[in-house]
Symmetry: C2
Subunit: 194 residues, 2 copies
């Protein structure tokens, strides 16, 4: 059985090291809808050799979360390919080879337009809406129990503006996921629909 309440640190934890430092580097092209369309090719992540999976933006939603601290505030969504979604729903552990989990991170932005509506129409006072603003980075966990045997069967990748982070960054991924060993190193739980 899967639980909706539980840890869901994006799909990743420490991998976001560089992200933290680059919070206010907005992505000027993030305004274009074309960006949301499937990407075909990208450079590969160091250590693991993972490229951005084509069509990942079309994958189904696993869960979402917020990461906040200091000047950082992100809204995050975890999407899964078909293998991942089936495994989450079946409560299958370990995740089968072929599982890919994508963690999409956006900088949380205020929305004055929404807040105006809340002010005039919403019950009670002081409600605020904040939204997925500029895109920050996207991370992937790829399950291949043979290829990635040294890291729990998972390969990791972190991309910003389509470019992978460096080797030092990618060395932080697996150690951070080790505390979730009893859940096959995955923090995110499936969030059932309301």
């Amino acid at each position: 059985m899967l639980r909706a309440i539980g840890p869901a640190l994006g799909a990743f934890g420490v991998c976001a090291t560089i992200t933290v430092c680059a919070l206010y580097v907005t992505k000027s092209t993030a305004q274009s809808a074309k960006e949301g369309e499937p990407q075909a090719e990208s450079p590969a992540s160091p250590i693991y050799g993972i490229t951005i999976p084509a069509g990942y933006r079309d994958w189904r939603l696993i869960s979402l979360n917020q990461l906040a601290g200091g000047n950082l505030k992100q809204l995050r969504a975890q999407l899964g390919n078909d293998v991942a979604i089936k495994a989450f729903r079946d409560g299958k552990l370990p995740f089968p080879d072929g599982t890919i989990i994508a963690a999409l991170h956006w900088n949380q932005a205020s929305s004055s337009d929404n807040d105006k509506v809340l002010a005039i129409g919403f019950p009670g006072a002081g409600f605020q809406s904040s939204i997925a603003g500029s895109a920050q980075n996207v991370q992937f966990m790829v399950k291949d129990s043979k290829k990635y045997a040294a890291t729990g069967g998972w390969g990791f990748a972190d991309f910003k503006d389509g470019k992978p982070g460096d080797e030092a960054l990618h060395k932080t991924c697996f150690p951070c996921h080790e505390p979730a060993k009893d859940r096959d190193f995955v923090f995110t739980h499936y969030a059932p629909g309301p």
Copy 2:
């Protein structure tokens, strides 16, 4: 062109009236993965006669947002059927008949498991992760320019635990969306993938 930065109050605003009052009514069965699977039939919403669309939990992600105020704190995801996703990506307004937008609302929950990992492994101090906890409600906007001509071409529905809210609640939906008239009454903008 669609923008990632902009209003995205779930898909809905005032429709969440009852939600506000029922924040701490947790859904005991929300822990089961079965809940995440497609629902086939449901009672219909008053005024608009909309039932829960089968398979909505499998729809693709449009964007996400947070609503906070008083004792309420929700993480929200907006999903779209194929017609909706195509329209968002093409920047097509008004949305074509057949568009359905789903707004899924979860009560935002802290995650001590995640926070432990953040404390030992994450750069900087004081980071906190919060996740999609208990499911709160789900809302739908259904485009049918003839059937719903009196309300901008949109029908509305709000469900909690599979049951629609009452008529008074559903009367609040359209007036709240009127400020977004220049975007065909839809607050949510498409969030391109990072």
